[in-house]
């Protein structure tokens, strides 16, 4: 370790407990002047708590934070800002109903430097009198970053800022970060994509289970080391199942399809989706963002009614008016957005029991013994950490996601519709979810799995359909569904050279890092002008 005086920011022994849950045990971070420093950790490692403490949103139970040799106790984000630490989050912090100029005035952002950084980031022609809500999300993120850069903070913290940026803009951001570094200003960079960390960061601090478990110098090949530190175990565990995908296809095809979609269409996005889902298989759905997969899942889950086409469930026509109708014929839906699926203020038990205990027509008392049995069974199957079970909102993201799945597992699954169930959760939980989906399929359930992480197709699916422009444009078997193939299919391309350069470059290095989510990024339409 370096001498304290050389450090721009130093946090030591930071801890935070929420009730019975230890979010941070002993986290430390040392940022040198002029470096880009990565902060990484699987979900539940305490990363978000640590970030909140650094930015003054949450008060630590113990620990010291020293900025430029002076101990700091930020009691609010505003104080942290004055102390020279500015954060940029995934969600842009601009007021939608004000124009950009008014937004700048709110934060007293100097105009000229802002213009300069905006130009550097590739938005030179932005009209400052545009209302914020009229700009695409990606542009707002860039504006947010330019605004932070213009203030010239000592420490700039980017919290998952690139997670939802199209590839070309991500490259620009990384490029600019590379140039900000130097002098005596530093950047704390938080991202799930190890490829980005490898591209711009000098060092990386790794958190696991609330503790700083290592600080590594980032050089070529350190991704492996970072992943190992994050996992606390070898990476092989993840790929253990890959080889086991054998031919359930022959077995599956003989039966009546659980779901038959015939030319389903909805709104403007979904035009002609046809496919069959058989019992005993995991069918992947591969698509870039906004190709109609959201609409497809809404129809199957009973949330929306199709504009056209036909849906057969177990060979019989289905016409869902409400999610309850879909559930009655065995179609259950696991949403990607946990805020959409969970009763955050209620207990794990109530959340899991919601579909089967809470029936209007069931006027009598709930049989608590039977309910406990079912709930405990599901909690055990999914290995949910139920210590903070009184309120689901106190659970980690991964545990929350497990609760949304456990709800259906408790009642027995016939057909499960999973919309990106592993988005934003840690590798260990992902692996558990993969195994569970496989086990359910092997037990005869039918699983439809949309995933934005293409490598999941080979890990869990038997085959995958590709949706592009609202149509099912192809089918790929798991054996040939490696990431380049799937990505080309998702872009509806035939030849290898046609993959956009940035994406291909990312893809090449992604395969080595286990947690680097593949940019199944927004289509070209979403890229700002």
């Amino acid at each position: 370790m370096t001498v304290t005086a050389d450090l721009l920011l130093e946090a030591t022994g930071v801890s935070k407990t929420y009730g019975a849950v230890v979010a941070l045990k002993s986290a430390s971070l040392a940022v040198r002047p002029g470096e880009v420093h990565a902060l990484v950790g699987a979900n539940g490692a305490g990363k978000s708590t640590f970030v909140k403490i650094l930015t003054g949103v949450v008060h630590p139970d113990a620990g010291r934070i020293v900025v430029r040799g002076r101990e700091r106790t930020a009691h609010s984000p505003a104080e942290a800002r004055r102390g020279g630490l500015i954060s940029v989050y995934q969600e842009p912090s601009l007021i939608p109903d004000l124009d950009i100029r008014a937004n700048l005035r709110l934060t007293e952002t100097p105009r000229e430097p802002f213009r300069h950084w905006l130009g550097e980031l590739g938005l030179r022609d932005l009209d400052l009198s545009t209302l914020a809500r009229r700009l695409p999300l990606a542009s707002l993120r860039i504006i947010d970053l330019a605004r932070a850069l213009a203030i010239e903070p000592d420490v700039l913290m980017l919290d998952e800022m690139t997670a939802a940026l199209p590839a070309n803009l991500t490259e620009r951001v990384l490029d600019v970060l590379g140039r900000v570094r130097g002098g005596d200003r530093s950047v704390i960079f938080i991202s799930h994509r190890l490829i980005e960390i490898a591209a711009v960061c000098d060092r990386a601090t790794v958190l696991r289970e609330g503790e700083t478990v290592g600080v590594v110098d980032v050089t070529a090949g350190t991704e492996e080391r970072i992943v190992e530190l994050m996992l606390g175990q070898s990476v092989e565990a993840l790929s253990a199942r890959t080889a086991a995908v054998a031919g359930p296809e022959s077995r599956a095809r003989a039966a009546t399809p659980r779901i038959s979609a015939r030319s389903l269409s909805s709104g403007t996005r979904l035009n002609d989706a046809s496919f069959d889902l058989y019992p005993g298989e995991v069918l992947g759905v591969v698509a870039l963002e906004g190709q109609g997969q959201d609409e497809l899942f809404d129809i199957l889950a009973g949330s929306e009614r199709p504009r056209g086409g036909e849906l057969l469930v177990d060979g019989k026509p289905a016409n869902f008016r409400h999610p309850a109708d879909a559930i009655r014929v065995g179609l259950v839906y696991v949403a990607a957005d946990r805020a959409e699926a969970l009763l955050m203020q209620r207990s794990i038990r109530e959340n899991i029991a919601l579909p089967f205990s809470s029936r209007l027509r069931h006027w009598g008392l709930i049989d608590l013994g039977r309910e406990r049995e079912k709930v405990d069974g599901a909690v055990a199957t999914l290995q949910i950490d139920a210590r903070a079970g009184g309120e689901v909102r106190r659970l980690s993201g991964g545990n929350q996601q497990k609760v949304t799945i456990a709800r259906w597992v408790a009642g027995g699954v016939r057909t499960m519709l999973c919309f990106d169930p592993t988005r934003g959760i840690d590798i260990r939980t992902k692996t558990q979810i993969y195994r569970l989906l496989r086990d359910m399929a092997d037990a005869g359930a039918a699983i439809l799995l949309y995933t934005s992480e293409l490598k999941e197709v080979q890990l869990v699916c038997d085959r995958a359909i590709v949706i592009f422009g609202g149509r099912v444009v192809g089918e790929v078997s798991a054996a040939e569904g490696d990431e380049p193939t799937l990505l080309r299919a998702a872009y509806n391309l035939r030849s290898e050279s046609a993959v956009p350069e940035g994406v291909a470059a990312m893809l090449a290095s992604t395969s080595s890092g286990a947690d680097a989510s593949t940019p199944a990024g927004p289509g070209p339409s979403e890229v700002p002008q």
């Binding site: 949330s303 409400h322 959409e340 955050m344 029991a353 006027w363 008392l365």
Partner: protein
């Protein structure tokens, strides 16, 4: 050393916060006792068993009306029609005293009318998605209008609060237990058990916590909301009967003064107006707190404006305390 540790535990804000959040009944009961002690100091000897009887008697109708607010607030709603529905029920019953069917028929008509009003409210809120605040406010005008029409029709027949209602509403068993407990205790058990142990109770919490999640789990909220507002209106009508017996009056605006305290009692009792959090036990303590507070302010001989200010301030402080402890920390 041990003393220091103990002092530390007492001063540990997080532990207090957790206590407040997970077991709100304990600090609430503490607040209630604090008020009782204060009133005893202000007027030594006032706190006796009969005094408790009087306090409980006054709290019963308030607690029932606050129960309406609790149930509706759990779903993220509110019921501003309770006061007019309660008044209507007491008034309608009184107008039947001299009719052939007598007060029993009057009560039946009153409860049926309340249920009808609740049904319409429930359809408005559940099916047509009118905000409960607006829907119940509008319904309270409609009910008041009908009450006035009824009053014009009935002005000749003469009216009077039935003696049975007076007995239930105002008499005390052995000077301590109000006879209204005959109604209140079974209702309380029903509501407590209903909220904790039935699927319907769980659904109220579910809808209030996250309507989207509830829907995706197959919950059809319109049916639940219709049933809810019918229950709320019938409870309000029962409270109205007790109030008219307690005050020995029947008028179309009898229960008006109960409306805001009923909301306040539910809020003080720990029910979140945003839905998904709370319960009836806290509400009952909330109603007791408000009643004792009113008694205390009277004993202190404060002028009316001062009383109102203190009353309001205490509600704000308690509500703010809840927001602090239940919010993301």
């Amino acid at each position: 050393m041990t003393a220091a540790v103990r002092a530390n535990r007492w001063l540990d804000a997080a532990a207090w916060r957790n206590l407040f959040r997970d077991r709100p009944l304990i600090p609430l009961t503490g607040l209630l006792l604090l008020l009782v002690i204060t009133i005893q100091i202000a007027d030594p000897g006032i706190v006796t068993l009969p005094w408790w009887g009087v306090i409980m008697r006054a709290s019963v109708p308030l607690a029932i009306l606050a129960g309406c607010q609790t149930l509706t607030m759990l779903t993220g709603g509110i019921d501003l029609s309770v006061a007019t529905v309660a008044s209507m029920a007491g008034f309608v019953t009184a107008t039947f005293v001299n009719s052939p069917g007598g007060w029993v028929q009057g009560m039946a008509v009153a409860l049926a009318a309340a249920a009808l009003a609740g049904l319409v409210t429930g359809i408005g809120v559940g099916v047509f998605r009118v905000h409960p605040l607006i829907m119940t406010l509008a319904m309270s005008f409609v009910v008041l209008g009908f009450s006035n029409v009824w009053q014009l029709q009935m002005v000749q027949t003469g009216a009077g609060v039935p003696s049975q209602l007076r007995w239930v509403g105002s008499n005390l068993l052995l000077d301590v237990i109000p006879y209204s407990f005959l109604v209140f205790v079974p209702l309380t058990l029903l509501i407590l058990l209903g909220l904790r142990r039935t699927g319907y109770g769980r659904l109220l919490f579910a809808i209030g916590d996250n309507p989207i999640a509830a829907r995706l789990s197959g919950v059809r909220s319109p049916q639940i909301l219709i049933v809810l507002y019918v229950i709320s209106a019938v409870l309000a009508a029962i409270a109205g009967l007790i109030i008219s017996g307690f005050t020995n009056t029947a008028s179309v605006s009898l229960a008006d003064t109960y409306l805001l305290p009923s909301v306040a009692a539910a809020v003080i009792g720990g029910t979140s107006i945003m839905g998904g959090r709370g319960g009836f036990a806290g509400t009952i303590v909330g109603a007791l707190i408000l009643t004792v507070l009113t008694a205390l302010l009277t004993v202190l001989g404060l002028p009316e404006p001062t009383r109102q200010i203190v009353f309001g301030s205490i509600i704000v402080v308690v509500a703010a305390a809840y927001t602090r402890v239940t919010g993301e920390s």
